[in-house]
Subunit: 182 residues, 2 copies
DNA sequence: TCCATGACGGACCGATCGGTCCGAGTCTAT
DNA sequence: ATAGACTCGGACCGATCGGTCCGTCATGGA
């Protein structure tokens, strides 16, 4: 008999928070800034996300969803595990080169909250573990050994850390590595 | 005609602050915790370091001094640029494997304060630029090309980011790479 | 039309932040 | 011995933190 809740509110708030968290870091951004960026009342924010920790966890969950969406999109036209691996790495390189790139959201969070073990930190670790397992799976699918997987993971880590200008080097090297091991 | 200032105070405070900053992050540590860990009065801390930003800058300067000391120590018994490069990387691997390792202090700071441009951030960037230039110099000294330097830098970045269990892979790979290019 | 509900802005809370200041005690040069 | 610099613990400051609450207004269903 009354008003219905606005439908997209949660997404609006989460998007605004995610932008701020990614750009400046979770610790550096206060809830007041999130409210201001979302253009809603503080009340509404806390109805959807009961604490900053849960908002941060939702931020990482959103980042993971976006990450997996664009990864599966990149893997769509790759046939076979080798091409998929190359596509995955070159897609990461695209992200690194994108203007406004501020590093890997999950690695950044684990650096900001190093030593802590809250929900978001566990989610970040889980994402990294899963991605590493995905690399292992793809490498193993065409007979590559553990050393190759380790080296590719090393390249991926360096790719995220390094300057965008070196992204091409990482992709080329990974491709060379993968094709040579075929 | 009065008391002389205690000699080692500044180092004591800085050491305590550096330990906390490195373990938990600069943003996560308050000045009260620094005072408590240093075992001194708050006003003494502020006499030696007029602000938290300057304390953070001093922390990075100390990290750089330690870093360069142990690097030159590692390079002492290496003859020729190739051996020096390998020694440098395996020394980084030793650091990564050390218990209590929490990542590269400079990369961590730039992640925590991303987008900001204070004294400490500039010092961190300068350290990374200088280290990268050192790699370029060592590679160029024995005729290696820019691509090789890029790849070694990629390995170093991945080495700092990756799990300690993969440090050996990075060192072996770098050695293989360097010796093959000889 | 009317009222129940959703949403907003902002006051407000205790805690903590970085930073200042002061009183009391301690040590040393004269 | 005594004065003056040094140091400590802690009170204190304004600002901001995360989080709660309330008064008011907008809105949509009955």
């Amino acid at each position: 008999m009354a008003r219905t809740p606005a439908p997209g509110t949660r997404e609006t708030i989460l998007t605004a928070a995610a932008g701020l968290f990614y750009e400046h870091g979770v610790r550096a951004v206060g809830m007041a800034q999130v409210v201001e960026a979302a253009g809603c009342g503080k009340n509404l924010l806390y109805r959807h996300f009961p604490s900053k920790a849960e908002l941060a966890a939702a931020y990482l969950a959103l980042a993971r969803r976006e990450r997996e969406r664009s990864a599966t999109e990149a893997l769509r036209w790759a046939s076979g595990p080798r091409e998929q691996l190359i596509a995955l790495i070159s897609e990461i390189a695209d992200i690194v080169r994108r203007p406004g790139y501020r590093g890997c959201a999950f690695r950044n969070y684990l650096t900001e909250f190093r030593g802590e073990d809250d929900v978001a930190a566990r989610a970040a670790k889980a994402y990294l573990d899963d991605t590493r397992a995905e690399v292992d799976r793809l490498v193993g699918e065409w007979g590559g050994d553990g050393l190759l997987a380790d080296r590719i993971w090393l390249i991926i880590n360096g790719l995220y850390a390094g300057p965008p200008s070196q992204a091409g080097v990482a992709v080329d090297w990974a491709r060379e590595l993968i094709e040579a091991a075929g």
